[in-house]
């Protein structure tokens, strides 16, 4: 799956901490990804960059083995060197345009935001997602004031890219971040310092899913999702499906193309989307 598509579907984002010994990170990531983490960011503010390369490769392997995206905090050159899926930048790191010029457009670029002004500025920058936080005060970012869920809602309303809520989130609080509009929630200590990171990830996943304003349904046998209130036509437009010659069958009932705009998606819908293709016969 293309990185952007995978990013669009992601819900649970793990950021590693500095407290976990480097040699434990790959195992931690494997468990967390198996539990339901979609995206892993390697953040080691206090590590020696030379040491980081080896650890980063192992962590990337663990994330990819479980089907998760792997992003490196801050170190643009390292992300490129090890073949990571992207880089995450803080407001005081290299700016997104600078990172792009080094990484090209294939890699993802994420950017932290802490204010409405930064969200607005990000809209004009070449970023694929933004984070919004810290939602709660956190020892991971000492001295930074919590911006609360309001900032998440502002970011969700104004951003043109997916928004990750971050900052002191864990079990019991990830749901309200999703309800505030976050597309993804990021957790740090809650997973990194857990005795059973896989189980905690699964619990977080469950809370996020339960709070999600997304509808889940199946299209041609595959799980898909869309924001509540979307019509079938809205969904197809998101996927840039040309509507000419497309036929949709919903729960066994065939819909005419003129009906697609009025038909709202509902939870657990079974859609078959077909189109006319070249073919003379069974082998064509």
């Amino acid at each position: 799956m293309a990185r952007l598509t995978q990013l669009r579907h992601a819900k649970l984002y793990l950021v590693t901490d500095d407290a976990t010994p480097a040699d434990r990170l790959p195992g931690l990531i494997s468990l967390a990804v198996a539990g339901g983490v979609d995206l892993v960011q390697l953040r080691r503010k206090h590590s020696d960059p030379a040491e980081l390369s080896g650890v980063a490769r192992e962590c990337l392997g663990a994330a990819h083995a479980g089907g998760a995206l792997f992003i490196v905090d801050d170190h643009v050159a390292l992300a490129a060197e090890i073949g990571a899926d992207g880089v995450h930048l803080g407001q005081t790191d290299l700016d997104p345009a600078g990172a792009r010029s080094q990484l090209g457009w294939e890699l993802l670029v994420g950017l932290s935001t802490h204010s409405k002004a930064q969200v607005v500025r990000a809209a004009g920058q070449p970023v694929d997602y933004i984070s919004a936080g810290p939602v709660h005060a956190t020892p991971t970012k000492p001295g930074r004031a919590a911006v609360g869920l309001d900032h998440v809602s502002v970011a969700a309303a104004r951003a043109t890219v997916p928004v990750v809520a971050i900052g002191g989130l864990g079990r019991g609080t990830v749901g309200e971040a999703v309800a505030a509009g976050a597309d993804m929630v990021a957790v740090v200590r809650e997973i990194c310092q857990a005795d059973e990171p896989g189980r905690v990830a699964a619990q977080l996943r469950q809370e996020v899913e339960a709070a999600s304003p997304w509808l889940r349904f199946r299209v041609n046998g595959q799980r898909r999702k869309c924001r509540a209130g979307s019509s079938i036509q809205d969904f197809l437009r998101l996927w840039e499906v040309p509507l000419d010659g497309v036929v949709v069958e919903r729960n066994g009932e065939i819909l005419r193309s003129s009906e697609l705009a009025a038909q709202l998606l509902t939870e657990n819908d079974e859609l078959e989307v077909v189109h006319l293709v070249g073919g003379g016969s069974a082998d064509g």
């Binding site: 840039e240 499906v241 189109h275 006319l276 293709v277 073919g279 003379g280 064509g284």
Partner: protein, 266 residues
């Protein structure tokens, strides 16, 4: 005999060649081949759309509105699947025509005659103009016509085989006996194959692989068109040949069969 077009379900097509759209090297070659063939009717398949794909269609270079569309149910393995594909195809809004195709054997892709007949009945009742692709069986062809098929489409050889006419006697008998137009479908490999069945009186042919897999598909499309035309003109002119293929003497004695209503005494 004065020439007229191919009459199908209320349409009259001047070209008796129906063009397939599968397995062409590119959408541009497909479009050029159809143009070179002069075909007015093309057959297309119905498939699941891959959301993650680029939604590219082999039909991209074609103006579908410029042709009569004959959707097919290729891929169906049961009558029910075929009926469903037919209804989906009709919902696309391009045509009430349907070419029923129900594969009965995965190895040879030969059609399932029983499922084909069942699907024909159901789709005729549902208002479709039904063209069933069928095995080259005389009795089956008659049953399909009786069930309301607008034409029957016996195969000359297995789909995609380009083997030409494998059983000329059966095919000729179907052409002579069918009360509805016979369009020979599947397996025609060369323009002369098309000429041959058209000379016998076939109403038309459907060609895909024979054109698509030719070294020069565009030139081959024109060659098939010429073959169809030559065969049709030969048929209209009346072939100077002997007795027709149908009407053999039975090897068992005729008559003397028990009355259909005869009962075994209690």
């Amino acid at each position: 005999m004065a020439e007229s077009g191919l009459r199908l379900g209320g349409l009259e097509l001047s070209s008796r060649l129906i063009h397939g759209t599968g397995k062409f090297p590119s959408p541009a070659v497909l479009a050029a081949a159809i143009a070179a063939s002069g075909a007015e009717m093309i057959t297309v398949a119905v498939r699941r759309l891959h959301l993650d794909g680029d939604h590219h269609s082999e039909l991209a270079e074609l103006d579908l509105g410029a042709y009569r569309i004959l959707p097919n149910t290729a891929g169906a393995k049961t009558a029910g699947e075929s009926v469903r594909l037919a209804r989906l195809a009709r919902a696309a809004g391009l045509s009430d025509f349907i070419k029923i195709e129900v594969v009965g054997d995965e190895e040879t892709l030969l059609p399932d005659p029983i499922a084909t007949l069942e699907a024909t009945r159901e789709l005729v009742a549902d208002g479709f103009i039904v063209l069933p692709y069928a095995s080259d069986d005389v009795a089956l062809s008659l049953r399909l016509a009786e069930a309301g098929a607008a034409a029957v489409m016996p195969g000359a050889a297995p789909i995609g085989s380009t083997l030409g006419v494998l059983n000329p006697h059966n095919l000729r008998a179907i052409i002579q006996r069918s009360p509805v137009p016979v369009i020979v479908d599947a397996g025609l490999g060369s323009p002369s194959d098309a000429t041959r069945v058209m000379e016998w009186g076939a109403a038309g042919v459907l060609v895909n692989t024979g054109i698509a897999h030719a070294r020069d598909p565009v030139a081959m499309a024109a060659a098939f068109a010429a073959g169809v035309k030559a065969g049709r003109e030969g048929f209209l002119a009346g072939l100077a040949e002997g007795r027709p293929a149908a009407g053999y003497g039975a090897s068992s004695p005729g008559g003397g069969l028990p009355e259909p209503t005869a009962r075994i005494p209690d």
